[in-house]
């Protein structure tokens, strides 16, 4: 378990991270979310001991002793690779630094899996952005770390490779690894994470189990689809806080009962379907941020 207790970091007068608390359970995937510039990378660098927090502490398994480097895998936001050496040498060097025994077979197997088997001797600079990201990911997990910290791992990957990455993260989770990853792409997090923390302007907006947050923080809405498309603009919708999207109208339940809404609409039109709409994580985030600002 990793406990982050009240960490803060200020650069000159800019507060990058303010009093951040997070609890990361072992064997789970923890999503760290926020818009660009929210403070995710600073927080991750503090977690990685690359920068020292001005205040607060980070505890691994209850102690302030950091696990050895070969227990942690880290993928920085931007490509952290030597450009002028080969793919194989890059991986060998980092494997050597992390004391991986006999790494060559492992390197070749991972490169094969990521469809880079033929690029063993290519210089890193010769690889595409996506392939460099894959190489960097291999470098992060090659030494079989217990903790895997990924800063924007999906950036630069095409949909096929995004799927592959998700598959591997699932496998790693099954193997009991603790995975922390940051992203500003909420849909990725929603599909993958067990727990999340939402951060904005360096401050924690909310944190906890994804399922619970989705249920408790999401705005409850009804998705209403009329039989006649012309009823989508019916004036009866103006009685509610509603939004029209793709042949349906989404009505916020807040302050009304579901039955009342349906009864009101039935008086004015024929309804094809009415269902409870699941809020997306992005909607929850926007709702919470707007709530905290007001």
């Amino acid at each position: 378990m990793i406990e982050i207790k009240g960490i803060s970091k200020t650069y000159d007068s800019i507060v990058a991270v303010a009093n951040l608390d997070m609890m990361i359970q072992p064997g789970r995937i923890y999503g760290f979310l926020g818009p660009n510039g929210a403070g995710k990378t600073t927080a991750i660098r503090m977690l990685m001991n690359i920068i020292i927090p001005d205040e607060g502490s980070i505890l691994f398994e209850g102690g302030d002793q950091r696990p050895p480097a070969n227990k942690i895998g880290y993928l920085p936001e931007e490509r952290g690779l030597y450009q002028k050496i080969s793919v194989f040498e890059t991986l060998q060097y980092f494997a050597h630094l992390r004391s991986v025994p006999h790494p060559n077979d492992k390197i070749k197997a991972y490169l094969q899996r990521f469809d880079l088997g033929t690029r063993l001797q290519s210089k890193v600079s010769e690889l595409s952005k996506g392939n460099q990201q894959k190489l960097q990911f291999i470098n992060t997990i090659l030494h079989d770390p217990q903790y895997i910290v990924l800063d924007e791992p999906f950036s630069g990957l095409d949909p096929v490779n995004q799927l592959l990455l998700k598959e591997i993260l699932e496998e790693l989770k099954q193997a009991g690894k603790t995975i922390i990853f940051s992203s500003h792409q909420m849909d990725q997090v929603e599909k993958l994470c067990d727990d999340v923390a939402l951060i904005n302007h360096g401050q924690l907006v909310t944190a906890g189990e994804l399922k619970t947050i989705m249920q408790s923080e999401g705005v409850q809405r009804l998705q209403v689809t009329p039989v006649n498309a012309k009823d989508l603009t019916h004036q009866c919708f103006s009685a509610f806080n509603s939004e029209r999207t793709n042949g349906s109208v989404f009505i916020e339940i807040d302050g009304h009962s579901k039955q009342d809404i349906i009864a009101t609409l039935n008086k004015s039109m024929d309804l094809k379907s009415v269902k409870l709409a699941e809020p997306s994580l992005e909607e929850i985030f926007i709702h919470l941020v707007q709530g905290s600002q007001s």
Binding site: M48, N49, I50, I51, Y74, R79, G80, I85, H96, Q136
Partner: protein, 410 residues
């Protein structure tokens, strides 16, 4: 342990690069080529432009005599440094004509031998620029000899006596306790050897320093630094880099010294003794570590190589001082100025190397200079570590001197 792994990685990838081979072997070849080439050019007269001078001879005698001896002196030269056209007459009558010739650039200048030259031997020179200044030396010495001969003749000394009076003095050089005269080549080699040692030291230290700067900038700009710092500590990373590139510099120095040893043996010269070799490596290590601190500190502060190189220029200017003053150090190794400069840490290794190779130093100077260097290295590396730790991850931010001061004090 991790520092060694980093050191080995840095060493291995640089030593295999073609730039290391080009730098190590190409640089001495280039320097040797330039030296030999410029020597040949100077000897061939290709760099000399023949100047044309006029000469107004009021005595009606010395001008012609001077012209004859100069013709004799420059007889074997394809390009004589100057030609002299003699006109007998008074300065007053010829002045306007000669001034015009100079102004329309037919002449580079003209001389006047006044009528009372024998009693008041002052040769006057009129010219547009100072480029004629050096030519007066030759004319001065030839005229002096003519005057002496003229005075000797007036004293009715015979030609035999005159020949007896004019002779050259040679100096024969011997080593202490040796009866074999030293050859000129050997003397030149002895004179230049201290410079060569200093130059090799300079080359080794700054090759290592520059590579260190580039290595830090490369890791900083490619963000590899973050992956490394999640794996190793700041001190291991910095130490590994300094060690690896220092070993590279040592390899380069060893190649040069081995070459110097064999070259010396071939010509039967004992330029490189074990003591000089040992002190060379001592000053190399201390000098390299001092500059390594500076280079790594600067590398941690800048995003681009151009900015970093500009910042490092000031330091490089100081380090060039020994390159400019080397003849002074060889000829006056224990003058007050040289002794003071010897204890300025940025140039200590270079000055000491010259003094050691000349054989004009003492155990006291060696020990004290090493102590000065050790203290400076400690300071440099300590400050570099503080700057490196704070500055290395501050991308895209212009760092100010007060900020650096704060980091150092923290």
């Amino acid at each position: 342990m991790n520092a060694w792994k980093i050191a080995w990685f840095e060493y291995r990838r640089r030593i295999r690069s073609k730039w290391f081979l080009i730098g190590t072997f190409g640089m001495p070849i280039l320097i040797l080529g330039i030296s030999l080439g410029t020597g040949y050019m100077a000897g061939s007269g290709a760099g000399i432009e023949t100047k044309n001078f006029g000469l107004i001879d009021e005595t009606g005698f010395y001008g012609e005599q001077l012209s004859l001896v100069l013709d004799k002196r420059f007889a074997d030269k394809e390009t004589p440094p100057f030609n002299i056209a003699v006109s007998k007459g008074s300065f007053e009558s010829l002045k306007t004509q000669f001034d015009e010739l100079v102004n329309e650039k037919t002449l580079d200048g003209y001389f006047v031998i006044p009528y009372d030259f024998i009693s008041n031997p002052v040769l006057r020179n009129y010219s547009r620029s100072s480029s004629t200044f050096r030519s007066t030396d030759v004319i001065e010495s030839e005229l002096k000899e003519l005057l002496i001969k003229e005075k000797a003749t007036s004293l009715q000394l015979s030609d035999d006596v005159l020949d007896e009076l004019f002779f050259d003095v040679d100096v024969a050089h011997f080593d202490i306790g040796s009866s074999q005269e030293r050859e000129t080549e050997e003397l030149i080699a002895d004179y230049i050897a201290p410079f060569i040692f200093m130059f090799l030291l300079f080359l080794g230290i700054f090759t290592g320093g520059q590579l260190l700067l580039r290595a830090v900038l490369e890791e900083r700009s490619s963000r590899v630094i973050e992956v490394l710092l999640s794996t190793v500590s700041y001190n291991e990373l910095m130490g590994g880099k300094i060690l690896g590139l220092g070993l590279l510099g040592l390899t380069q120095s060893a190649i040069y010294l081995i070459a110097a040893f064999f070259a010396g043996s071939y010509y039967d010269l004992s330029i490189l003794t074990p003591a000089i070799g040992l002190l060379y490596f001592t000053y190399f290590i201390l000098g390299y570590l001092l500059y390594a601190g500076i280079y790594i500190g600067v590398g941690a502060l800048f995003d681009s190589e151009q900015e970093a190189q500009q910042a490092i220029q000031i330091i490089t200017f100081i380090a060039i001082i020994p390159m400019v003053l080397w003849t002074m150090v060889i000829e006056n190794p224990n003058s007050t100025l040289v002794n003071v400069l010897t204890y300025i840490p940025l140039v200590t290794p270079f000055f000491m190397m010259i003094k050691i190779a000349v054989g004009e130093t003492s155990i006291f100077q060696i020990v004290t200079s090493i102590i000065v260097m050790i203290i400076s290295v400690y300071g440099s590396i300590r400050l570099a570590a503080k700057v490196f730790r704070t500055g290395i991850l501050l991308y895209g931010k212009r760092i100010t001197l007060p900020e650096i001061y704060r980091w150092i004090r923290a």
